[in-house]
Amino acid sequence: MKKIIKRTIVILLITVMSATLLASCRNNEEGLFEIPEFVFVPEFIDLPAGIQGIQHLVYTNDKVFYTTSEVLDMDTGYTVSNIYSMNIDGTNITKLTGYIAPTPMPDAIGSVMIFSMSVDNNGNIWVLENGYFYKFNVPDNFTGEEWEKWEYYEDLGSYSGIRKLNETGAELLSLDIAHLRPGSNDDYFEVMSFEVDGDGNVYLSVGTGNGNIIILLDSNGNKLFQLDMEGFNWVDRFIKMPDGKIAYPDRQYSEEDNSMTIFLQVIDVTIGERGEVIDLPQTAWDIYPGGGDYLVVFSQSNALYGVEAETGETSLLISWINTDLPDGYRENIIMLPDGRIMLTNQSWSMIDYSSRYELIILTKVPYSELPERIVLTLATLWPSPELRASVSEFNRSNQKYRIHVVDFGEFIITQDDWNAAITRLSTEIIAGRVPDILDLSSLPARQYATRGFLADLYEFIDNDPQISRSDLMEGAFRAAEINGGLYQLFSTFTLNTLIGHPSVLGSNPGWNMQEFQAVLDANPQADYPLGQWLTKWSFLQSTIMFSLDEYVDWTRGTTNFDSQNFIQLLEFANTFPEDFDWGRGRSIDWDIGWPDDNWLSEEELIASGRQIMVRLSWFSDFWTYRQYLANFGGEIVFKGFPTEDRNGSSIMIPSSYAMSADGKNKDGVWEFLRSMLMPDWQRENVNWIFPTNKTVFNERLEEAMKEDQYSDSTIIRSTLATPSPDGDVMWMPPEIKPLTQADADRLFALIDSITFTASWNMDEGLMDIIKEGADDYFNGVRSAADAARIIQSKASIYVSEQS
């Protein structure tokens, strides 16, 4: 018997030990790029004509209520709120004709609007109504212009009220909250948000002159208790919990580790105090009541996340980009009892700047029920608005392919770890699970390209029937080449360079450090030669970032940090302050504020000769070009940062996309990528930044060459040559003129000359090496030459490792 027991124990132990070896074999998550089991499909609800916006959306008893605003008088801006009801399936949209906004001051100008709305368990609607009123005490014999009436303006104060309405909108009860005002009528008192719990208790978030408070009233308006908010915190939204209790999101900042914690604070009516605290991720800002398995949900630009009721863990609910919704701002999210999700979506047109509201119901359906299409996977980290718009449009219009987006930003949210996303994506790629399309915005494009992960897009451009290299801003694409190939496609770019007046800096584009220093020596009056706000490190960092190819040759794996150019750059950087002195030698009393005479505008500094060049690190539009031409008296030269090869300008690519070298559906990927190079797409989606389509670029350039509202030669302007001796002259900014052909040619010459693409995501390791060495010099521990020697030693190893 003993023997049998012994043997049984031994067998059990062996099984357990062997089983642990299989632990790594578990597949706790499907491959990230595999097709999901379910997707959310949108259904757009037709709204009545004339709806200008949906402000509030609430649900009760299989009915949805929402408010809209309607401007009745364009002259006075008189606007009213309307309430609509609708069945949960989107049918039977009915305006509640029983709702009439109160008119507390019939003779005044102004209106009362619904500021917030809620429902109770009996199906009654509760509304918080705020209004502001004024009037013009215009004399009887007034004959002036309309705008002159404002001289007779009188503020009549504000109105706040809470009413209970029935399902036709008729008033059932009006709560007097005026008595809650702590001081006189002139004291600040504003109800910022409210909610009603299951028992009809009313929760108010109130701002007063003495701070922000929460007031609880019973269903008859009697005050139950009050909670004071700490510091400047206030409640902008109450959350109704699944158990009927009310909570509010709150934040606590810790000065020790400079971190912010976000949590849900439940209000316990039974004890008249704050109750349970539920932790939330740091990114949970736009919070809505939960439903089903979720305590609450919160929306980000990329996805909807839920906090699970049982575990408190955060998980991804919906990736917005995969719902084919038009890109926009999503709010008023309701988790319906049947598992569907209702929300509003506001989108904007970049062409005419009009906005559009949509009421949408998302239904969870098995992926297999969707029309069959070839799925292309796209990996991204926080997709940009352009990407979201492109994917949405592609999925709605393309019958053969569909893009499924995997947003690695989810790992930042769910794991509360900023590095988790890059690590996870890198791991997937190394494991051989490469998406068809990569959003390279936060990824090391050069490394992936040289490792053979990415396809050369020139092959596709050269074989495309509609677009060729000459249709694009070739200079920008040439600068982005890696070993002669194009591995990232981009629709926008910006320029980084140094500019100034040719009479001061020299008329030839480009210079080295000696020539740069010579210009500084010849202009001793320029105490802010490159502008204000620069410190030793900020200047050095940006100069290196924007002219890195001067010091690093990634192809050959060599560096050049021990060059005379770099040593001189270090020495020049050392002339800047360690930290900027905001008070310019004086101490500032921040309670009073910034002294007026502390502010020096860039235009004034340039006009007075105290600043002789500008470091343009995000030169992205023609308006900026016009502005600086005006500041420098109508003429500038693009000098770039000082480098040995005198070519110190660079481009920067805000967002770019790549194709997997090993993808099976390259044609489909190209169909998607090429759309971002098309003129129509760039006209719609590219604004306030240089487009890469040459046609669109030229159109915008032509606009900048026309006379417009900003050109006004009647105003007397100061010029570069007339600085004020005593500083009392009224100084006017210079006239903004249209661009000339010479200006256009100069810009094209700059773009065509650039050979380097800078990046804000520069190798952190390399930058750390440079900073460590530079700091030793700046702190007086070593000479500039010694610091350069050490940086060269370490940086050369760093670069050669990756070559």
Partner: protein, 297 residues
């Protein structure tokens, strides 16, 4: 009967084998999972272009590796350090062991003095070394007392010297103990016979003691060689991911290449390093076998 007995024996043998295998299975599975299989995976990675395509490229990764300046630098530094530190560690610890064997005064105090570095945590050692060899540290103060100029120890070509000193300080004690144990195992009669025959101490050392010490010499050399690779730990704590070029070791290269996800280069470097180690140790074994053969017999 005989057949039945034979069958019975065979069955007993099979049972023993099967039973033994079952007992060994968990350990074997573990060794396979954590050592053998990864070894073959590394070999696979070393011969393909990238994990996505998986195309066989034969020796291209190795050729690229030997053309990589960082790898050459790391290999040179590692080799230089090993060539310098290991012989010093062996010879010095042997000398100390011989000295202590000679029953000098304060023998046990000296022994404690050499053994105590073994007990000090590495992080503490590194902190102290940083202070000692700082440009304004104690060592420079001492040097300047004699009229010389201070040296930027960690950021100049003298940085290997610092680490060699650190390595010796840390490892001499352990090697010394091993040699002392080996010395105490040398048969007294042979030494006494040598004394009688008129052999001097040098002759006794080289013709008798060294022969008997040869297995220990081999072990100490291999152990010191392995420790010379592990000095990366101290160097990393002293200087970070990217030290001044003299201290950039093979393991720095591997660490950094791993972070860049360049598994092909990493795998190739690991295989090259393994081959080098196998060769060195094989040479040492052959030398020991030849030198100490008669002792073993």
């Amino acid at each position: 009967m005989k057949l039945a007995q034979r069958v019975d024996n065979l069955n007993k043998k099979s049972r023993d084998i099967i039973g033994g295998s079952l007992w060994l299975a968990p350990s074997l599975l573990g060794v396979a999972a954590f050592y053998i299989i990864p070894f073959f995976i590394v070999m696979y990675y070393a011969f393909i272009d990238n994990p996505i395509r998986g195309n066989f490229v034969f020796l291209d990764n190795f050729i690229a590796l030997f053309q990589n300046r960082a790898f050459i630098q790391a290999s040179t530094n590692t080799f230089t350090f090993a060539i310098t530190a290991v012989p010093l560690a062996v010879v010095l610890s042997l000398l100390i062991a011989l000295m202590l064997e000679a029953r000098i005064p304060l023998r046990s105090q000296f022994r404690t003095f050499f053994l105590s570095p073994l007990m000090v945590p590495v992080a503490s050692v590194v902190l102290i070394w940083q202070v000692l060899f700082h440009p304004n540290g104690a060592v420079n103060e001492l040097i300047m007392l004699f009229g010389a100029t201070g040296v930027d120890w960690m950021l100049s070509d003298h940085n290997q010297l610092v680490v060699v000193i650190l390595f010796l300080w840390k490892n001499l004690g352990f090697n010394m103990i091993l040699f002392m144990a080996a010395l105490s195992n040398i048969p007294r009669e042979i030494l006494e016979t040598a004394d009688v025959e008129g052999a001097g101490p040098i002759r006794k050392l080289f013709y008798i003691k060294m022969r008997y010490l040869s297995p220990t010499l081999l072990f100490v050399t291999i152990f010191s060689l392995i420790n010379s690779f592990k000095v990366f730990r101290e160097v990393y704590l002293l200087t970070g991911d990217y030290p001044y070029e003299g201290l950039y070791m093979l393991q720095h290269f591997m660490n950094n290449v791993f972070r860049f996800l360049d598994y092909q280069r990493l795998a190739a470097a690991a295989i090259v390093m393994t081959i080098a180690m196998v060769l060195i140790i094989a040479i040492l074994f052959i030398a020991e076998h030849r030198f100490g053969k008669d002792v073993e017999e």
